[in-house]
């Protein structure tokens, strides 16, 4: 294992310290917890958004704490859902009296831990609701699995529901918006290399020099299948075909595109992928309203990427364009 770290058991703590020291104008840490909240929070009368999950997905989730996006982010151990007490602490800290929306990615552990936290918060008299993000079309439907996973499409929920909250909408409205985004976003990814959880010390899986893993999650868990590496055009087409099959898109529909790097893939390759995505959308007469390219929901140093497509309407467009000012996502 070759990493720039100190003690593998202490990476989350040191990382959180490093984030707070880098961005004190945006975030502060809840003393004794792996929770980042807005430096100037809580915002009185504003619905608060709390997201989180295992660490190793940076800049998710702490990087999106700030104006127009999250109010709090809870960091579990690497690739491990945070525990209910941590989430509960975040909820208490960000509640400004207008209630808290939990943004949960659909992994058994995340769902259970966040829901337990929600129960604790409700028992404490805090208004809490939650949405479950499940954008990953690589996973079969819920007859055979726990349902689709939440992956990079989550960024759109943070951005758009975050804008709704910032604009002063109430908890039911913010939840409705978040669910609209969830209903309209689909993603799929692939990877060229595994990644190594520091505490594990060795890669989660192995890939031959000419092999790629298709449809994998964001925790280094194996994907749907392996295949020989193909050209960027072919890989992109495969992923887009799966996305197209799962979302109703017709000519003149408007979409937002996220080409998300998994941590070890250079921007050069992400832009080459974007070039292919653009062609495929153009072929169908679909209008690209906004494109985001970069590392937003990563899996440590894994090489690979995911594509997320969000179908937009006027309401989502306006919220997508709303100002955001966070360490990792800014929009003027």
């Amino acid at each position: 294992m070759k990493k720039i770290i100190n003690n593998p058991e202490n990476v989350v703590n040191e990382m959180l310290e490093g984030i707070v020291k880098a961005h004190p104008e945006y975030v502060k840490r809840l003393e004794g917890f792996n929770v980042l909240v807005r430096a100037n929070g809580p915002s009185k009368g504003k619905v608060a958004l709390v997201s989180g999950g295992g660490s190793g997905h940076e800049p998710s989730h702490g990087g999106f704490v700030g104006e127009g996006m999250l109010d709090g982010a809870v960091a579990g151990e690497v690739f491990t859902s945070p525990t209910p007490d941590q989430v509960f602490e975040a909820v208490k800290a960000v509640d400004g009296g207008a209630g808290v929306l939990l943004v949960i990615k659909n992994y058994t552990g995340d769902v259970m831990n966040f829901e337990m936290a929600g129960e604790l918060a409700k028992a404490d008299g805090i208004e809490v609701d939650s949405v479950i993000v499940n954008d990953d079309v690589a996973v079969e439907n819920s007859t055979w699995t726990t349902g689709r996973r939440g992956i990079a499409g989550t960024i759109f929920i943070h951005k758009i529901a975050g804008a709704a909250a910032e604009k002063g909408m109430g908890l039911p409205e913010v939840k409705r918006i978040a669910e609209k985004v969830i209903a309209n976003v689909r993603s799929m990814g692939m990877s060229l290399t595994p990644c190594t959880v520091p505490a594990a010390g060795k890669p989660g899986f192995e890939l031959a020099e000419d092999e790629v893993e298709v449809g994998l999650g964001i925790h280094g868990e194996p994907g749907t299948h392996r295949e020989k590496i193909k050209s960027a055009a072919e890989i992109t087409k495969d992923l887009m075909d799966k996305i197209f099959a799962d979302i109703d898109l017709t000519q003149d529909d408007e979409v937002a595109v996220l080409i998300n790097g998994l941590g070890g893939t250079p921007l050069m390759e992400l832009y080459i992928v974007n070039n292919e995505v653009d062609k495929l959308l153009e072929d169908k007469g679909i209008v690209i309203y906004k494109t985001i390219v970069g590392n937003y929901m990563t899996s440590l140093e894994m090489a690979g990427f995911s594509i997320s497509i969000l179908k937009l309407d006027d309401e989502l467009k306006e919220l997508l364009n709303y100002k955001a000012d966070t360490p990792a996502f800014k929009q003027l």
Binding site: P82, T108, N113, T146, A200, G220, G223
Partner: protein
């Protein structure tokens, strides 16, 4: 009959066994999950062991509730809330008691399993810890009915849990992270079922000493 001291022993021994099997459980999870099950469980039971000192002289319910809360707040992932809920439900059965009788044990086991089902919404045959726990529970109950001692009954339960783990190799996961693998999960044993087996085995071994 399990005395408070025996209960404390059992919990300490579980912590030791989980520690010894940290890498094994992690490797099992790496194959069909995200490779953290041993790390998470070890973190949790290490914390439990440390916490036990503070409740040595409390009743069995308090000891088990402390165990549950510690697991919930340290393990994380799927297994944290599941084991945590199981211990919490079991704790409630022996609230205020200084000893656990055989009837309690059956009830605790049952409540624990119900807690896992409530929290995780899985059923037997979905390649989870339930595939070790439910057969073990059934075997325990039947053996006690047939007049076995608690130590004998746990030996049989342990055997059933083992078979349950073996059975998880033959089936496809439809719950938890391994479900994403589809048929590729077949051939691998479930890490959570394995840790459940190890826990039951440790209870049996401790009782048989």
């Amino acid at each position: 009959m399990i005395t408070r001291d025996l209960l404390l022993d059992i919990l300490k021994n579980i912590a030791a066994v989980i520690k010894d099997n940290r890498q094994f459980l992690t490797d099992l999870d790496a194959a069909i999950g995200d490779g953290d099950h041993g790390i998470n469980m070890n973190k949790g039971f290490k914390a439990v062991e440390e916490k036990l000192d503070t409740v040595r002289d409390k009743d069995c319910g308090t000891i088990l509730k402390t165990t549950a809360m510690t697991l919930i707040s340290t393990v994380g992932g799927a297994s944290g809330p599941l084991y945590g809920t199981a211990f919490l439900k079991a704790a409630m059965v022996v609230n205020g008691k200084m000893e656990i009788d055989n009837e309690d044990i059956v009830k605790m086991f049952d409540e624990g399993i119900q807690g896992i089902i409530m929290r995780g919404k899985a059923k037997r045959g979905e390649k989870t810890m339930l595939d070790a726990l439910i057969p073990a529970y059934e075997e325990l109950m039947n053996s006690l009915k047939d007049g076995s001692t608690i130590a004998e009954a746990f030996n049989k339960a342990c055997k059933a849990a083992y078979d349950g783990v073996e059975y998880t190799k033959t089936i496809r996961a439809t719950k938890g992270r391994a479900s994403y693998l589809g048929d590729r999960s077949i051939g691998h044993q479930d890490p959570g079922a394995t840790s459940s087996y190890l826990i039951i085995k440790t209870v049996a071994d401790t009782l048989n000493r």
